[in-house]
């Protein structure tokens, strides 16, 4: 730094600590609420220290389900969320690495056209075409299926652009060398390009897993059976009764469970997460 003043650091620490506190506060309250019984939470005078009903609440949320408002145990919804988030992440990676490979390493008629067809999908999020997409999925008889939850959300250009950008940085000499060794398109892809792409693939996986896990509108529309909901849409259903009847302690336990996997991904794979976030935005 230019000048070093002790009070400067103290101010910085104070502001950052305040920031961290504000950022953490809602989650802290939710965690506390998930450890109290219903009466304490609804009473409006909930203490800000943990209560003694933690195991009971989480057990009920995960395995039993609420009595009135949430008939479906959250354990099953967690599984649905995992399947669709991983499906979206893996699906997007597979189709986009293949299409990027075609666009970068081959010359064929309509190559540019194909690229633009994919590229345009960047512009329109699923929210602006929900009902027609719903109709397509209904016509294909994919309502209430994992395919219906996953496939429409992997139709996007982010992955293709990211892989294309990475492939462009791979030195041409590698392709020439593996050609001299007699490798065709399949072997070059499998033995050279794929091992080089591991970091890019992981970064994209982290971002797409979070994206898939946090989907709300789409799963809400195409799931009619409670058993096919994801955990994020399930929380809302717990609260759509009159407020006095909603079981907030279970809803908060569910909220904590819904946050845990993606937050863990960000915290423990921070390097990949930051990389994925910065690169998918370019």
């Amino acid at each position: 730094m230019v000048e070093h003043r002790p009070w400067n650091d103290i101010i910085a620490y104070a502001i950052l600590t305040l920031g961290v506190f504000i950022v953490a506060f809602p989650v802290y309250v939710a965690m506390i609420a998930s450890t109290h019984d219903a009466a304490t939470v609804v009473g409006g005078r909930m203490p800000l220290l943990p209560g003694g009903h933690t195991l009971e609440n989480y057990y009920r949320a995960v395995f039993v389900g609420g009595s009135r408002t949430a008939p479906e145990p959250v354990g099953h919804l967690l599984l649905n969320s995992f399947i669709s988030a991983i499906g979206i992440a893996v699906g997007k990676i597979c189709i986009s690495i293949l299409s990027a490979y075609a666009v970068v390493y081959f010359r064929f008629p309509f190559r540019k056209t194909a690229f633009w067809i994919i590229f345009v999908t960047l512009m329109l999020p699923v929210e602006v075409r929900i009902y027609p997409t719903y109709k397509v999925v209904a016509d294909l008889r994919m309502l209430d299926t994992y395919a219906g939850l996953i496939l429409p959300l992997i139709a996007s250009a982010t992955g293709t652009l990211l892989f294309r950008q990475f492939f462009m940085t791979v030195p041409d000499e590698l392709l020439e060398a593996s050609r001299i060794d007699g490798a065709g398109p399949f072997r070059f892809f499998k033995d050279t390009l794929l091992p080089l792409s591991v970091t890019t693939i992981s970064a994209l996986f982290v971002i797409q897993f979070i994206y898939g896990w946090n989907q709300y509108l789409w799963p809400l529309l195409i799931t009619t059976q409670d058993s096919m909901q994801t955990i994020v849409t399930g929380i809302k259903k717990m609260l759509t009764t009159t407020d006095e009847l909603a079981e907030w302690q279970l809803a908060m336990a569910t909220a904590v469970l819904a946050m845990l996997p993606p937050v863990a991904v960000v915290v423990f794979m921070q390097r990949l997460f930051v990389r994925g976030l910065v690169e998918t935005e370019k």
Binding site: Y13, L16, V29, G44, S99, I118, P262
Partner: protein, 294 residues
């Protein structure tokens, strides 16, 4: 940019490689998007049995609704508040974290994790804290003499969704601002210090202008975020209410078309939104090109 070394002899293979993505894109993107455009010129009866071409009638009907202008205004207020608040708060935190603090990496981790929280979940968390009868912070607010009730008061409801949306977006803006700050050469700041500029003056005359590409990029991203990703927050917290006070344009597309209500009107609104997003994206790309050179 083009590769010079490519596979020339494969004629069919590239099409096979492209096929999965192209098929999915056509089935789930181009087909529904074109249906949305087509539907916006048609009127269907409640059972979807008869549909007739009505030209621009759906658009005229949409633009004749006072509610549509209200939703536009709500969207404008909502996005201005969220973008302004989340950008300035994130910039404040990022400038502090950019100082040579030993604990800076720890603060960074603690600052970015809300990115991973689903918008709908973020909404539920804030709704719980500010719930009129059982919220932890609702009682102190009423203690201050404010008749706090986001379930009945439109301004309170708006404040609540803005808080949730800002809370979630700070992480993203913080990360990009911090990266932007760290890429500013230290020598420029030192030169300013030698000329006698204090920390505040250095920030406004050197750092802030050099940060403007990041700020502009984030502005566009934030507006897109407010338009689309906040759907979950609004649906979970207020469901567009009370009395439409938090119905944004995207929420109205959803609400009007729900249960086969006004599909034509909903589709017309979708098309208007598409035009807005395309314009925003065009601005972003034009700018991104500049950033690459920079």
């Amino acid at each position: 940019m083009e590769k010079s070394a490519v596979f020339n002899r494969s004629k069919l293979l590239p099409y096979a490689l492209l096929a999965p993505q192209l098929i999915i894109t056509f089935v789930f993107f181009y087909w529904p998007a074109s249906q949305a455009v087509l539907q916006s010129f048609k009127r269907e009866d409640a059972f979807g049995l008869v549909s007739e071409f009505v030209g621009l009638e759906n658009y005229q009907a949409v633009f004749a609704q006072p509610e549509y202008y209200k939703a536009m205004l709500t969207t404008l207020v909502f996005s201005t508040l969220v973008a302004a608040l989340s950008l300035s708060i994130a910039l404040l935190f990022a400038t502090q974290a950019d100082k040579n603090l030993k604990a800076a990496p720890v603060y960074k981790t603690f600052m970015i994790w809300p990115y991973a929280v689903a918008p709908a979940v973020a909404g539920v968390l804030w709704f719980f804290i500010f719930h009129p009868s059982l919220g932890t912070l609702a009682r102190p607010l009423r203690g201050l003499g404010l008749d706090w009730n986001p379930l009945l008061n439109g301004n309170h409801a708006m404040a609540l969704v803005v808080m949730s949306a800002v809370w979630k977006q700070i992480a993203y803006n913080f990360l990009f601002f911090l990266a932007g700050l760290q890429s500013i050469p230290k020598s420029v700041i030192e030169a300013g210090a030698i000329d006698g500029a204090g920390p505040m003056r250095r920030f406004w005359t050197i750092i802030f202008p050099l940060l403007s590409p990041t700020t502009f990029f984030l502005l566009v991203v934030n507006v897109v975020y407010v338009f689309f990703d906040t759907f979950g927050i609004i649906d979970a917290v207020t469901a567009g209410g009370p009395a439409g006070a938090t119905t944004t344009m995207v929420y109205k597309v959803y609400a009007d078309g729900r249960l086969g209500g006004d599909l034509g009107g909903s589709a017309a609104q979708s098309v208007v939104l598409m035009v807005i997003v395309i314009a925003l994206t065009a601005v972003q790309f034009k700018y991104v090109e500049r950033r690459v050179q920079y």
